[in-house]
């Protein structure tokens, strides 16, 4: 009864929905500004002179764009052996991420396939344990894993390969790599950051299992009749089918590792080995830089652009992967 009178009071259904829509747009723009303006402020700060940063009222567009800030930021921080640090940090991140990706994709697809398609006694128990590990706080194992890593001997073969690769990498990238002694253990090496990736993670396994369950069973039955082995079915049927999910996993892994500073903070001591996020944090810690806000904003912008662009380009995969694994952003 009251709806009709109300609608009349509002001036008819049409103008009412128009009002509603306008209100929603205004709210969306307000909330959206709160999300995006700090990022624009960072970008704008990175292109100002240090004096312009302190101007009141604040200036959003710099008078002349100081692209030189990026040059300063990129080249002024030096490695212990000389040479600019930031390019090296970028290289470190790319290197770490590639190895981790290989490990993540390989191990998780194998395990996910096993859980989705193969029958065995004890499988339910194993799966339950997998689900429980998703709930365990990672701090439980920090200290003891750190101790284990500090007791593990470094494989001499890895050392020889990496030393042999250094001159080649130096020639290709132009980054300086110093000759190192053979490490005593895994601390201050990349092994603690890469090796665990080859042992599958509960969240990603769960995601892939859920996806593999949707692949029609007729496909593998047909392949079996044709005499395909289980591994062949995994490789030739399931992996190609899973391309969209693997894209999600790749994107989430890339962004996760680009952001990562905590693992490297625990395991790496030599600043030359830092990946970029920890490198920027390290840069910030120097008295020479910690008040140079224009340089810090440039560092922040460089750190933000790759994940931001990847997110915009591959939003669909990103959101899908996020929704399926429930990984916290």
């Amino acid at each position: 009864m009251s709806t009709t009178t109300k609608a009349a009071w509002w001036g008819g259904i049409k103008s009412r929905t128009l009002l509603h829509k306008t209100l929603m747009y205004v709210l969306c723009i307000l909330v959206g500004s709160f999300q995006i303006l700090p990022l624009i402020w960072m970008l704008s700060g990175s292109l100002k002179t240090i004096h312009e940063l302190f101007v009141d009222p604040p200036m959003w567009i710099p008078k002349s764009w100081q692209w030189g800030n990026y040059d300063m930021m990129w080249n002024s921080l030096r490695l212990e052996e000389g040479g600019p640090a930031m390019p090296r940090y970028l290289f470190n991140t790319v290197y770490l991420t590639v190895i981790v990706l290989v490990g993540v994709l390989l191990s998780n697809t194998l395990v996910g396939f096993g859980f989705a398609r193969l029958r065995a006694r004890g499988k339910n128990v194993v799966f339950l344990v997998l689900l429980i590990t998703m709930m365990l706080p990672s701090q439980m194992t920090w200290l003891s894993v750190y101790i284990i890593m500090s007791r593990l001997p470094y494989p001499p073969l890895f050392y020889r390969i990496s030393e042999a690769a250094k001159p080649i990498l130096q020639a290709v990238t132009g980054i300086q790599f110093s000759i190192e002694n053979m490490p005593n253990n895994w601390i201050d090496t990349y092994l603690p950051l890469t090796v665990p990736a080859f042992f599958a993670g509960a969240g990603t396994v769960f995601l892939l299992r859920q996806f593999f369950l949707t692949v029609p069973i007729e496909l593998d039955e047909a392949a079996r009749i044709d005499g395909a082995s289980t591994f062949r079915i995994y490789r030739s049927i399931f992996l190609p089918q899973a391309k969209p999910v693997l894209a999600s996993v790749t994107i989430l892994t890339f962004i996760g590792h680009w952001k990562e500073f905590f693992g490297p903070l625990l395991y790496l001591n030599t600043s030359d080995k830092f990946p970029i996020a920890l490198g920027v944090q390290y840069f910030r810690g120097f008295a020479d830089y910690n008040t140079q806000w224009h340089l810090l904003m440039a560092a922040g912008t460089v750190l933000s652009i790759p994940p931001f662009v990847i997110f915009l380009l591959f939003q669909r995969y990103f959101v899908q992967g996020m929704a399926l694994t429930g990984i916290k952003g």
Binding site: V31, F54, P137, L143, S144, A299, G300
Partner: protein
Amino acid sequence: MSEEAVIAPVTRRREAKHRLGRMQLREEREFYLFVAPWLIGFVIWTAGPMLYSLYISFTTWDVFTKPIWVGLQNYATLWHDLFEPSQLVLFSQSLKVTTIYTVLMVPLRMIVNLVGAMLLNQKIIGMPFFRAVFYSPTVIPAVASALVWTWIMQSNGGLVSLALNKLGLPNQTWLFRSKTALVTLVVLGLWGFGSQMLFFLAGLQSIPEHLYEAAKIDGAGQWQQFRYITLPMLSPVIFYNLVMSMMGTFQAFDSAFLYTGGGPNYATHFYVLNIYTFGWRYFRFGIASAMAWVLLIIILVMTMLVLRSSSAWVYYEGEVKGR
């Protein structure tokens, strides 16, 4: 007990094994082969280290010398700290700070994400654009967002201080005063919608339209529709978000580490930051491991309580109630 009853389970199992053909046995072997990376990883990176850390928590150990068995002494120290807080342990201080942070953060973050999801659920043009904008801060590395927010919160020349000066309000170093630091971290933590918003959005989109139509016919207003349809239908998502968010917030580390370093005067010294400090700064691995185990217990209890309460407020369609 008859002999039959004792033998039966064994023979039955043997029969079962016998009944599995060669193919099934092969499949079983293959299953364990495929799952091996995770199984081995579970033993060496999770189960083993957990037992190891349980052992360490009963010792005092600086890693350089041999561990000394002290029994429950580390746990006793933590217990004692609850009643006589000490700067040397910081257990009760970090527990207090983390609890306040969790109590403020979990509901606020949930409300913010629900509002965000409800905005994005509107049928207006340009929604994909707004969704990208709402979500984008989440993909920005914490190190970078800490840089820009520290600059914005800067007392000398930061945006916030300029705005406060304009309004004639007192200006402060928000992050570096013990009274305001923790609340400031809460506010900064609300920037950026997370996966919570995506779950809420998916939940909202799965609520059947006819429920709202029926309610409108019965004369329900906007608020009543929200209160009696949206909220109950969303309650499974709210439940999931609540559990995940509680566990995540209680383990907060990044913001304290990046913005305040735990200060001023331990006002933002989060629990996990305390574990980190005791482990990697003071090399007191024994007590740090004990803190990690206490954390597990706290999180288990919290989760259990929410699980227990859930039957009272979480509505599952198709669930049989009663008894």
